[in-house]
Subunit: 283 residues, 2 copies
Amino acid sequence: MNQWFNEELDENYFDLGARVSIQVGEMLFEGQSEFQKLQIMKTPKFGNLMILDGAVMLTEANEFAYHEMIAHIPLFAHPNPKRVLIIGGGDGGAAREVLRHPGVEECVMVEIDGLVVEKSREFFPTIACELDNPRLTLLIDDGIKYIENANNEFDVILVDSTDPAGPAEGLFTADFYKKVYGALKADGLMAAQAESPYYFQKTQKELFAVLKSIFPYTSMYLSAIPFYPSGTWSFAFASKQYTEQSHARTADIEAMTPHLQYVNPALFKGCFAIPNFVKKNLV
Amino acid sequence: MNQWFNEELDENYFDLGARVSIQVGEMLFEGQSEFQKLQIMKTPKFGNLMILDGAVMLTEANEFAYHEMIAHIPLFAHPNPKRVLIIGGGDGGAAREVLRHPGVEECVMVEIDGLVVEKSREFFPTIACELDNPRLTLLIDDGIKYIENANNEFDVILVDSTDPAGPAEGLFTADFYKKVYGALKADGLMAAQAESPYYFQKTQKELFAVLKSIFPYTSMYLSAIPFYPSGTWSFAFASKQYTEQSHARTADIEAMTPHLQYVNPALFKGCFAIPNFVKKNLV
């Protein structure tokens, strides 16, 4: 018998007044790591569902809309990304997308919670499928500590974090983004998940103020992600030299499009078109 | 004490496996018209909420993302829209946006359900605010019957309907869109709400097959609407002569942007960038 899972953000950090509800079946795994509570459930319509501390992380059916967008937009904006760092991303989806790029020689992924990686391998094999790729260096470690020792090393950094409560809280601070800046090469750029433009305006405003104080160029792009609050999700793009269009590799996007469910050349541009109410909040 | 309203689409027509839940307070109105059940509730976060046959129609907080997009995209794609027809749209939101265009001499709005109009005036005054505008001709009538007698009359037609179950069922058929084609002038164009790209792929595929069989040019655009299923909503654009860009009035969009919460020149283009999985479904 199917039941409804109701996202319980209100019990943590947020009081949204609206929530995502998904029909769920069998609980496949439930456990508490050192950092957070992990639940994995079957759903009748969307494949397996991962929940961290009561918040929906992904379903097998819709994860492409998040993972393609956090990875391909910054990677295609860079003329030649060879070394990529992922902070977080324990499910493996961002790494899978990064490794689609043949020019990427090494992708370093630093996930704080080994339980997420372990259970993603077990219950999300189509997402974790590249975690043993020889071009991937997977570290179970604190991304904030890792990045302190990285200097001028990466072409692209992806911050694939949870909400700014719990283990990801430090990933929304000026201190952290100064380290990201330092870890990037002179022409490096980064993308970070940046919450809902409808519901997390305060977090967005603060995050973009931080990024603008550190990076010479920042912008925002959007993706349609049904099970995140409001159904639309933001990503922050921040760069030392390039804008998202200045070195966009349109031919490479075109070539990868048949293998992708979301990203194509028109979408690479269109996703940076932001509604007025969102723009006003970032000024 | 606030409770949760859970959208009950599953009881009507759809079995989505996911649903929108909104915290609600006092029930302001509940009644059955000849056509559908109307409920209006207070919400603590999003202003008043309108529900028809268990499906969320709008909240005061988010309605702009729907009404601006159904109205301004087709109107700004037309070089000089003077006569506009709205089929449905009983809350008045689409009419409000159409009447922002000073070049529009007459907007005819044909809503089948007088109760929706009456209660929108009472409980949604910022949405129904232009229903007494002298440039608006408001008819409480069946839009399908109205359009049978309209020939070569309108520059732009908006189909602002509910889901294809209940009173709006006839608004998703080839027969209806042939009449829309006939009611448009030789260079006319139309937009119609076209359901969720994630959850209503069969409806979309059928609707676009119908439109392609009738109109020489069709395309799709998207808006981020938190309380519609999946949070992203589609609109069908169909035109006799113009594409969405061929006669786009960019300077006029720019001039109206300060008065709008959603639409701006970049967004006018960007909203037509469609993810791969949606495009594939329409082929």
